[in-house]
């Protein structure tokens, strides 16, 4: 192990959603209706209360919709403009998902190389950690000029770069954070480095990989929307929201934000599902009884 490995351990863990997830029902645990109710009722009540107070106050105080739209106005706009915003959402999702796949694939390839070659790791990681601190969205105008304003690839490229760093840093950490006893065990069996990677490092890195791509899934959508802001076709979420907001059509903007949020949560949940299928053995999914 080298000094640089400390650096990996010190790097921030990016799975900011993990603590929430622990509360999701686990496989094999029979959730009684009573327990589910107790678990989710407060959130439901909070939601209703906020919506009602929001609606009530905006009506009572006569707040203009360009300051704060009423939930009812947003809902109306959502149903009326649904075909437009859903279509825009799909185009944005395509950019986000493609960029996500590209960025994740490159990140995994780099991580495997970093886990295999110490020299590569020493050179690569500090830079990756530094670049992770830079506002990568600033690359959007450059990519627009490189790949063309109307080419969806210029947005995909921004998403790929945004996704790349957290996934790469986390996966590398997972590949390196292996129980020394497991390495001794493999050594005692005269296993080759490739065997160690395949049978120990990759399974051990899976939880790190998944927590990073869960965050990356949400990030990818936001990055796509930011990239769209810097110009390009009008029929995507980022441009739609900005245009509507500039015309002070805030209920329309909120309805589109709702679409972005729904897509983000769906993308996240899909990855959560994949995680459960691929690592049913992991601690966080074990039933408590």
């Amino acid at each position: 192990m080298t000094e640089r490995d400390d650096l990996i351990r010190e790097t921030p863990e990016t799975d900011v959603f993990a603590s929430f997830e622990g509360d999701l029902p686990t496989i094999g645990r029979r959730s009684s209706p009573g327990r589910l109710l107790r678990r989710y009722l407060p959130a439901f009540i909070a939601f209703l209360t906020v919506i009602l107070v929001w609606e009530g106050l905006t009506r009572l105080l006569g707040v203009e919709s360009f300051v704060l739209s009423k939930p009812s106005e947003i809902l109306t706009s959502f149903t009326e403009t649904f075909t437009t915003i859903w279509g825009a959402g799909m185009r944005t999702l395509l950019e986000a998902a493609t960029g996500f796949v590209i960025g994740t694939s490159l990140a995994v390839a780099t991580s495997l190389a970093a886990a295999r070659w110490v020299g590569f790791r020493d050179g690569m990681l500090p830079i990756a950690i530094a670049l992770n601190a830079t506002p990568i969205a600033a690359l959007a105008p450059i990519f627009n000029s490189w790949f063309g304003l109307t080419n969806p690839f210029s947005k995909m490229a921004v998403v790929a770069v945004v996704v790349y760093f957290p996934v790469m840093i986390n996966t590398t950490r997972g590949l390196l954070e292996v129980d020394p006893a497991e390495l001794e065990l493999m050594r005692s069996m005269a296993a080759t480095p490739a065997e160690v990677t395949r049978r120990i490092r990759i399974p051990r890195a899976l939880p790190y990989f998944f927590s990073s791509i869960k965050v990356a899934s949400v990030l990818s959508l936001i990055a796509a929307i930011i990239a769209e802001y810097f110009g390009g076709p009008q029929n995507v979420l980022g441009q739609y929201i900005v245009n509507r907001a500039q015309l002070f059509q805030f209920p329309d903007a909120w309805a589109a934000i709702l679409v972005a949020s729904i897509l983000g949560v769906t993308f996240y949940l899909l990855i959560l599902l994949a995680e459960r299928r691929l690592m049913p053995w992991h601690v966080s999914f074990r039933s408590s009884d």
Partner: protein, 281 residues
């Protein structure tokens, strides 16, 4: 101490190596692609990929005729963006810490609000930014403070989550020990839980520092706020065909601003770790 110096020297050396490698790759790409007549994925001409030295020289040349050098103008812009980011970082950090404490004290509050704290991060800030600016204008906030609020929106989340995690991190036996002393909830919080949470909080602050710079840059765009990095990036991207080096130079400055802020938080963390090590030994 010798080890620390060696480490710094090595880090400096590897940074230099990366810069050199990057320049070689960039210029090599230009050379080969020009020689072969390739255009994909990126055209190697000087309009699309200006020479690295041109980008560097742009930093030193005056931004406007007879004006101060570009680098000074952009550093000033970076300072303005960093000020917005920093204020947003402080607001977001305080809100995040408060939420963490609230959630650890009340399971009911956690169950009621945590899902929405998580969902809040799926909302693209660039979309809510124009509204935040309108709201800020209503209550006569200066525009840069509205941008700070946008930055705070990105900042509070990691801090809230990690504070909660950290406050829950002490061993059950440590909590029982405090209970055996008949310690009040506040004493347990400040003497046991908060110190235990500090490493978690610092981790979150590093993530938040980077996020707050992104928030400030992105927030400046719809706010139409002049003088910051965000506006400059937008402006230079519109002038890209005329002066591509300017955009690259500005992106470089933006990157350095992010690294500087995260570096500052990391330095504070190291100071904190050292101060506490001294207390223990």
């Amino acid at each position: 101490m010798g080890g620390a110096n060696r480490r710094i020297a090595r880090t400096g050396l590897s940074i230099l190596a990366v810069v050199v490698a990057f320049v070689l790759l960039w210029e090599g790409y230009k050379l080969i692609w020009t020689a072969m007549g390739w255009e994909n994925p990126v055209s190697p001409d000087d309009r699309t990929m200006p020479h690295t030295w041109d980008i560097f020289l742009t930093l030193l040349r005056p931004a406007q005729r007879n004006g101060p050098p570009f680098i000074l103008v952009e550093l000033k812009a970076a300072l303005m963006t960093l000020r917005e980011a920093f204020v947003g970082f402080l607001i977001g950090g305080a809100v995040g810490f408060g939420l963490g404490v609230l959630f650890v004290r009340s399971t009911m509050a956690e169950r009621a609000f945590m899902p929405y704290v998580v969902a809040s991060q799926t909302v693209p800030i660039i979309a809510i930014a124009p509204m935040v600016v309108v709201w800020g204008g209503r209550i006569d906030l200066p525009q840069w403070l509205s941008v700070s609020l946008i930055a705070a929106y990105l900042t509070f989340f990691p801090v809230a989550i990690n504070t909660l995690r950290g406050l829950r991190s002490p061993q059950p036996t440590a909590m029982e020990l405090m209970r055996s002393y008949a310690s009040t909830g506040n004493e347990t919080l400040w003497k046991l839980q908060v110190p235990a949470a500090m490493p978690y909080i610092f981790t979150a602050l590093k993530v938040s520092a980077a996020a707050s710079v992104i928030g400030a840059i992105v927030g400046e765009l719809p706010a139409g706020l002049r003088g910051g990095l965000g506006r400059d990036l937008l402006q230079f991207s519109q002038q890209f065909t005329a002066a591509p080096e300017k955009l690259f130079a500005a992106v470089l400055i933006a990157g350095l601003a992010g690294i500087a802020f995260v570096g500052l938080v990391t330095a504070v963390e190291h100071r904190w770790v050292q101060a506490n090590r001294r207390l223990i030994t």
